[in-house]
């Protein structure tokens, strides 16, 4: 039987090519994702190990609030104690912190994810990850060294003066350019280094505090032993850690911050692509098996056992799966290289290094590829094995085109169950809502696949009606062809349906997110102007700006809002820092209990959701541990509902009076401003802008601009999602093209007849193309319907679970575009089959058996 399978495959290589390609693309996407993740992970690991190679021990504050939380300081005087420890060769004080460098054009350099750092230049080259590439080390007078990537991006050269925001503006002179190891920088991180005294003054904001101490041993003790010895001389609150641990922490931070999310997201989309591929493969196998059912019946009549027929088709699926997966894995490695290039081009400078292909990746690609193909091939195989031997003697095709009773019952039950689950999730309260919607979505997708053939005929009739009307006989034939085999039409359209449904869910979700953001800004923001550092809230504005703006005669109120973190109830929480009493004048936080005016020294305001999950009420005392290692008991003085207000407030609102003593570089991320009575917004804006210019020129925006900036991130996310989903759509298209080619092969005689009685080649092409459009539109309409419903359920579920996303928005224009894309996709998918159909030789077509 195997030799027969192989001969079959050789004879129909072309049909299998389309199938293999769907598997191949899916596997390539998956492999590419895994390889990219491994490559980046390995590269970062190598990088951090290399740059920390000379550092044996790091002395630092032992309070760790996690990534981005900033570090507490330690006394600079510890340097001498550490240097005296036996086995220590050098102990170098280090200052690091936030510093936003302005380029030659006055705009901030870097940002958009990677941190913007400033600190001290460590003179011992073994302890300094940066190497001077040009110029010299800083020697006071606000001289700085900047990393090459930042210098290039900001068009800055040695001898130039520019501004560094710490967040107070500091005039600096560039005297040197440095590289991070061999790289221009650590990814997109910018680094500006003063000498130690300047760094302590500007960054550590102190004359006797530093961030950490880097220690190099004399080689007499291991890192761990040295760390123990150093630790022994340190006071409470200060710890000694090995260089290896610090490297590992850096790697873990990058993984948690960026790589894990990147690979998870990409894997998710690879999953969608594979799901779509599964439908395409299933369909191709179904058709091939149907076309071969007479042969299968003949084999059965000649004495082949049912299991032998089954094995034949399964063997074919396995061979297709293995071959396609192997090629897919190879392609995936290429894709990973390409993606890395794309990231580089997009400005995320990633560490260089070879592509990492692990055994796990290869196994994963192979297993997933073969499983997907097998899964898709096994149902058609079972169907083939059920062919009665007598079918060989019948002339008619065996494939049934009328839906079975079981299909009607199962399809209806599944559709009802899926809809019910999603509805229950959408209307439910609390955390259980989203999982319900998710399960409902899965059931609905299965229901759509089962019930698809039931609706395919009427749907194709309906969608094809305008085609028949507009295109005359050609259109009518196209419509009839789309209707003639509902199961095939449905299976073909399902692939596109799944892809379009995912696109639609994201589109609806994105639109609702934007609408909700607009809505909160509308409802809660009473100000006229916003000074901000951009959509990602990176960087910082000196708190002095809010004060100076508030003093302007054109301005009524100006309140700064900053971001911070503290350990609360065992884990690190994001805080908003502001003046709660003043904040009420520009922002309606929807206070539920207590009064924001009472939130001053020794107190805090929390959102009602936060209060509920921790079981707090007004008057309760809650301990907050800050980055400097000190813990303060804060009294809950107010509860508010407006957690999403201006996307900034979140669960905890801490008064600046509480925050400032615990922080080093106090900063705002935005300042909300109202114009004074009788002053136009435009006049206020120009006055505020003049102040802002002196603080490094953060954006000054009116309400509409602010809303647009806030929602810009959503559009960016959607664009990335669309790009990632494009592959799934392409696979779906190939599925349609493949099915059409197989159908046309089946209809060779019919097309020959049509040509003989006067259908022109152009009409044949048009007929096939329109059939493709009807099928694709069916898939697109189904996908949009499913996507809108699930999107709605998801928005509701999120609203119930988190209190966010209050508004559901239906992005009509975008959805119409999605529908059009579906139709155009149909035209594209139909191009090749149409050409092939039109090229059929009339005489041969008539003569075909």
């Amino acid at each position: 039987m195997l030799s027969l399978t192989l001969r079959e495959m050789r004879a129909h290589g072309r049909r299998l090519l389309g199938t293999s390609f769907a598997v191949l693309l899916g596997v390539a996407f998956l492999t590419g994702t895994l390889v990219l993740g491994d490559t980046l992970r390995r590269n970062f690991e190598t990088l951090f190990t290399d740059v920390n190679a000379g550092t044996d021990v790091v002395v630092r504050n032992d309070t760790d609030l996690g990534i981005d939380a900033g570090e507490g300081r330690i006394p600079a005087s510890l340097v001498d104690d550490v240097a005296r420890v036996d086995g220590v060769e050098t102990a170098a004080p280090v200052v690091t912190g936030f510093g936003q460098l302005l380029g030659a054009d006055g705009e901030a350099v870097g940002g958009g994810g990677p941190p913007q750092l400033a600190g001290s230049w460590t003179t011992d080259p073994d302890l300094n990850p940066y190497r001077l590439a040009e110029g010299r080390a800083p020697e006071g007078d606000d001289e700085v060294v900047v990393n090459k990537g930042a210098a290039d991006a900001g068009d800055l050269a040695i001898g130039d003066t520019t501004t560094l925001l710490t967040p107070e503006p500091v005039e600096v002179t560039i005297v040197g350019v440095a590289t991070f190891g061999d790289q221009d920088g650590l990814g997109g991180v910018t680094f500006t280094a003063f000498d130690l005294d300047d760094a302590m003054a500007h960054i550590a904001k102190s004359t006797d505090q530093v961030t950490s101490i880097s220690v190099r041993g004399d080689g007499s003790a291991s890192q761990a032993a040295l760390a123990d010895r150093v630790g022994a001389v340190l006071p409470a609150g200060v710890e000694a850690t090995t260089g290896a641990t610090v490297s590992q922490e850096s790697t873990d931070d990058i993984n948690a911050l960026f790589l894990d999310m990147l690979t998870t997201t990409l894997t998710l989309f690879a999953g969608v692509a594979l799901l779509v591929a599964t439908f395409s493969i299933y369909n191709t196998f179904s058709i091939i098996v149907a076309q071969r059912s007479r042969q299968a019946a003949l084999l059965r009549a000649l004495g082949a056992q049912r299991a032998q027929v089954l094995r034949g088709v399964v063997a074919e699926a396995v061979i297709v799966g293995v071959v396609a997966s192997v090629v897919g894995i190879a392609a995936g490695v290429g894709i990973a290289g390409l993606l890395k290039g794309l990231f580089d081009a997009a400005g995320f400078a990633l560490p260089a290094g070879g592509v990492v292909v692990t055994g796990g990746t290869v196994v994963a690609g192979l297993v997933v590829g073969v499983l997907v193909t097998l899964l898709a091939g096994v149902f058609p195989a079972v169907r083939a094995s059920r062919v009665a031997p007598l079918a060989a003697l019948r002339a008619v095709a065996v494939e049934r085109t009328t839906p079975s009773r079981a299909r009607i019952v199962v399809g209806t039950v599944l559709a009802a169950a899926g809809t019910g689950l999603a509805l229950a999730g959408a209307l439910a309260d609390g955390d259980g809502a989203l999982p319900l919607v998710g399960i409902g979505a899965l059931v609905l997708v299965v229901a759509a696949v089962v019930a698809g053939p039931l609706v395919a005929r009427p749907a194709a009739a309906l969608l094809g009606a305008p085609v028949a009307r507009l295109r005359g006989m050609t259109g009518e034939l196209a419509r009839e062809n789309a209707m003639r085999n509902p199961r095939r039409t449905a299976a073909t359209a399902s692939a596109l349906m799944v892809g379009i449904a995912v696109v639609t869910v994201f589109t609806v979700f994105g639109a609702s997110l934007k609408a909700s953001m607009d809505d909160t800004i509308d409802r809660s923001f009473a100000g006229d102007l916003v000074v901000s550092t951009g959509p990602f809230g990176e960087g910082g504005i000196s708190p002095a700006l809010a004060g100076e703006v508030a003093d302007l005669p054109e301005v009524g109120t100006a309140v700064g809002i900053g971001q911070g973190s503290a350990r609360v109830d065992g884990s690190t929480k994001q805080l908003s820092i502001s003046d709660p009493a003043a904040l009420t004048e520009v922002l309606d936080l929807d206070v539920a209990d207590g009064d924001l005016a009472d939130v001053g020294a020794g107190s805090v305001a929390v959102s009602t959701t936060t209060a509920e999950s921790h079981d707090w009420a007004v008057g309760d005392e809650v301990p907050f541990t800050f980055a400097d290692g000190r813990t303060e008991d804060l009294t809950v003085a107010a509860l508010y509902d407006g957690e999403d207000t201006a996307q900034t407030i979140g669960g905890y609102l801490v008064p600046r009076a509480v925050w400032t003593p615990h922080t080093v570089q106090d900063a705002d991320t935005m300042v909300l401003v109202t114009a004074a009575d009788g002053v136009s917004v435009a006049d206020a804006e120009s006055a505020v802008s003049r102040v802002a210019d002196r603080f490094g020129g953060p954006d000054v925006e009116d309400r509409d601009e602010f809303a647009a900036t806030m929602t810009a991130g959503v559009d960016m996310m959607l664009t990335i999602v669309y790009a990632l989903l494009a592959l799934a759509i392409v696979i779906a298209l190939m599925g349609i093209a493949n099915t059409l080619s197989l159908s046309i092969h089946e209809r060779t005689r019919e097309i020959g007849l049509l040509r003989a009685v006067g259908e022109t080649r152009a009409q044949v092409r048009s007929m096939v193309r329109w059939e493709s459009v009807v099928i694709a539109t069916f898939g697109a309409v189904g996908g949009i319907g499913l996507g809108v419903f699930l999107g709605w359920a998801m928005v509701r579920g999120v609203a119930a679970a988190s209190g966010g996303l209050g508004v559901f928005a239906l992005p009509t224009v975008r959805l119409v575009v999605v529908l059009l894309v579906g139709g155009v996709a149909g035209v594209l998918a139909g191009l090749r089959p149409a050409r092939r159909a039109a090229r059929l030789d009339v005489l041969q077509a008539i003569a075909t058996e």
Binding site: L477, N481, E750, L753, R755, V757, G758, R761
Partner: protein, 259 residues
């Protein structure tokens, strides 16, 4: 698209002049037609007979604009087919020629009625209602028009095919073994309809067949062998045809070659 014929005979619906058709090249070349010259008279029923491989189907395909000659000329009315592009040939088939094939004559997704008006609809025309009714009545399909081909018997399907061939009032109808797949009664019915189309409607019909009984219904019979016209019988009887055929079969020893 008109190329005036040298001297069109008023009574010829189609003329074939020195027609040759060679398939393949060099040593493997097969001569299907070898210098055939013949007039197919208008308003008459002509049968074309010959053993397998004699070139009878090739001749029909070339006259009908389904295939092109290697050498020579085919005139359909006053149009020389050799000068036409593929599209012009398609339009000619649609507008001026009718076809009845042995099997698979109908588009399975269309009803009987839609199949009958298919060429007109492809041309974007509406069929003449009166004429359509007459054709449908002639072939006796009145109550089956809404049915799909799969719901019709083989004989009924072939009647739909005849109706389609006649519906557009073509200059010439080509029938390729139209009774080959039918039982004798249905076959006789179909032949009756074709005969009536010639007698009552003045239709020109050319029918390729290997059945002497079928050929006997024609006004005249052309005999082909080895790509040449070897004989011609007017007003033939089945016995006379059978006699000619058996003499041809004896002279062509290779009955396996395709027609």
């Amino acid at each position: 698209m008109s190329a005036p014929a040298a001297s069109p005979t008023r009574t010829a619906a189609a003329r074939v002049v020195d027609a040759s058709k060679v398939y393949g090249e060099g040593a493997t070349a097969v001569v299907a037609l070898d210098g055939v010259t013949v007039d197919l008279p208008a308003g008459r029923f002509t049968a074309v007979m010959g053993p397998s491989g004699s070139g009878k189907s090739t001749l029909m395909h070339c006259v009908a604009g389904l295939d092109t000659l290697t050498e020579g000329r085919v005139l359909l009315g006053d149009v020389e087919l050799g000068s036409l592009s593929d599209k012009e040939l398609t339009l000619l088939r649609r507008d001026r020629v009718g076809f009845v094939f042995q099997a698979f004559n109908l588009v399975p997704t269309l009803s009987a009625r839609e199949n009958i008006v298919l060429p007109d609809r492809l041309a974007g025309r509406s069929p003449e209602p009166g004429w359509l009714d007459e054709v449908v009545r002639t072939v006796g399909l009145g109550d089956r028009l809404a049915h799909r081909p799969s719901e019709l018997s083989g004989g009924q399907q072939q009647r739909v095919a005849v109706a389609r061939a006649l519906a557009g009032r073509p200059e010439i109808v080509f029938a390729d073994e139209p009774t080959g797949n039918l039982d004798s009664r249905s076959g006789a019915e179909i032949l009756g309809f074709l005969r009536r189309a010639v007698d009552d409607m003045g239709q020109t019909i050319v029918m390729v067949t290997h059945d002497p009984l079928a050929a006997a219904i024609a006004d005249s019979v052309l005999f082909l062998a080895d790509g040449r016209i070897v004989d011609h019988l007017a007003g033939p009887s089945p016995a006379a045809i059978l006699d000619r055929m058996s003499s041809l079969d004896r002279s062509t020893p290779d009955p396996t070659a395709g027609g």
